[in-house]
């Protein structure tokens, strides 16, 4: 391989899009109208939930399953933690982002992640928390039956990375059932949220440290 690391060193703006999706979990989201969503959004302070992630690829006979838990506290604190198959923790707090991966029992910081891009996207979270889907310049947002919020990229560059995102709202106000991120034909990620809870106190240290 000739100079592949030069490529790896470059920024990975796609990671920012992932954070954008995570922020959707904090959408205070059940409603059939934008006004209803915005109204519920104002009541959201924290969200925490287990999740099961299915990665579907044409190359795979069965999806690659990841499991974990996330914590969100308004306005901009997030801990997104995978327990398997690769133990990793993404921390975001007050505009700073870090990712750690556990290898051989040791926590190793990911220095290649484009954390600056994450910080840019975090600034969007407040908008999402308030149900201001149309305030995000990167996506068109439409409210579909289900209820479902459908996000489609405005720019071709982003569409190359993400075709669309489906946010399936729960019957319980303020919660989501699942998120489907369509990257392309035969390639999508399904996030199912399990046992979510709203507005329970979350220790601030969870967003500051991986311990």
């Amino acid at each position: 391989m000739e100079r592949p690391m030069a490529a790896l060193k470059k920024k990975k703006s796609f990671t920012g899009a992932f954070v954008l999706i995570l922020s959707c979990m904090a959408i205070a989201g059940w409603s059939n109208t934008w006004d209803g969503i915005k109204r519920q959004a104002g009541n959201i302070h924290t969200v925490q939930s287990d999740f099961i992630q299915e990665k579907h690829l044409k190359i795979l006979n069965k999806p690659l399953i990841s499991k974990g838990r996330f914590f969100f506290s308004a306005p901009d604190s997030l801990r997104w933690e995978y327990a398997s198959p690769v133990q990793s923790i993404l921390l975001m707090h007050e505009g700073k982002s870090r990712r750690y991966v556990i290898r051989d029992g040791v926590m190793v910081e990911d220095s290649a992640a484009n954390l600056q891009a994450m910080q840019v996207v975090i600034s969007e979270i407040t908008q999402w928390l308030h149900g201001r889907f149309n305030a995000n310049p990167d996506f068109h947002a439409t409210l579909e039956p289900g209820p479902q919020v459908l996000l489609t990229p405005k720019e071709a560059a982003l569409a190359k990375m993400i075709e669309k995102i489906e946010l399936n709202l729960s019957d319980q106000p303020g919660l989501m059932k699942s998120v489907v991120i369509h990257e392309g034909k035969d390639t999508f990620t399904l996030l199912n949220f399990i046992n979510p809870t709203l507005n329970q106190a979350i220790n601030k240290d969870l967003f500051l440290s991986v311990e």
Binding site: M1, E2, R3, P4, M5, A6, A7, L8, K9, K10, K12, F14, T15, A17, F18, Q53, K55, L57, I59, L60, N61, L64, S66, W80, Y82, P85, V86, S88, L90, R99, V101, R103, V108, E109, D110, S111, A112, A113, K160, M161, E183, G184, T187, T189
Partner: protein, 223 residues
């Protein structure tokens, strides 16, 4: 004199670390040792990948590969830890197709290099060894020479671990691939698979990729 010592030390260091060592040749040997690193059939692997660009700076990825040594084909998908696809590419009979690539992973130069590393790890060099023998440290080597003059050493010890070393035409070490943490798979012909593979690039643009096996599957269909 001091400068001479420094230069001499540097030279010896370069020779010991990067030049082509000569084995004590043996004529009668177990030829299966030359095949130890290589799999039969078409396999699908899922790896956790650690990429070290420079000391202490590490990035993490997930990799899914479908490899058929018989057909000389590889399909490779690289993702972020969160599952975003950065690269989906196929190489078959030296034809490279990039199905999906997110910049900078859409660079053909990058993808060709990646595929070359995978080929080196999983495709046995064609033909018969140029020679075989033992190094001073007791390790056994099967040495192959490609038509373009590059040398590939397949180095094995008494256990199931192995190392592949690739030397340039000028006999300097350019790649080393080291397997460790062997996992014997029951129900799949008792195949030994390395739980960890380390791919190291030597020279001007050094890097280290560490691949930890998450899933493996012997599949019937061809890529």
């Amino acid at each position: 004199m001091k400068n001479l010592l420094v230069v001499s030390s540097l030279f010896l260091s370069m020779v010991s670390c990067g030049s082509l060592p000569e084995p004590a040749v043996v004529d009668d040997y177990d030829q299966t040792r030359c095949s130890r690193p290589y799999i039969d059939g078409t396999w699908r692997f899922v790896h956790a990948i650690q990429a070290e660009m420079r000391p202490g700076k590490k990035g993490f990825f997930m990799g899914v590969t479908r490899i058929s040594p018989e057909k000389k084909s590889i399909r490779c998908v690289m993702m972020t830890i969160e599952g975003f696809v950065l690269l989906d590419a196929t190489t078959a009979k030296n034809a490279l197709t990039i199905h999906r690539g997110v910049s900078p992973f859409d660079s053909r130069h990058f993808v060709q290099g990646l595929m070359e590393d995978i080929k080196l790890a999983f495709f046995k060099p064609p033909g018969q060894p140029l020679k075989a023998g033992t190094f001073e440290d007791g390790l056994f080597v099967c040495r192959y020479k490609s038509p373009d003059g590059r040398i590939t050493d397949i180095v094995t010890g008494d256990n199931s671990a192995w190392e592949i070393r690739r030397y340039n035409k000028n006999k300097t070490l350019s790649r080393s691939i080291k397997a460790s943490k062997p996992e014997k798979l029951s129900g799949q012909g008792g195949t030994w698979l390395p739980g960890r593979i380390e791919i190291k690039a030597h020279g001007m643009h050094e890097y280290l990729l560490t691949l930890d096996l998450i899933e493996s599957e012997l599949i019937a269909e061809q890529p």
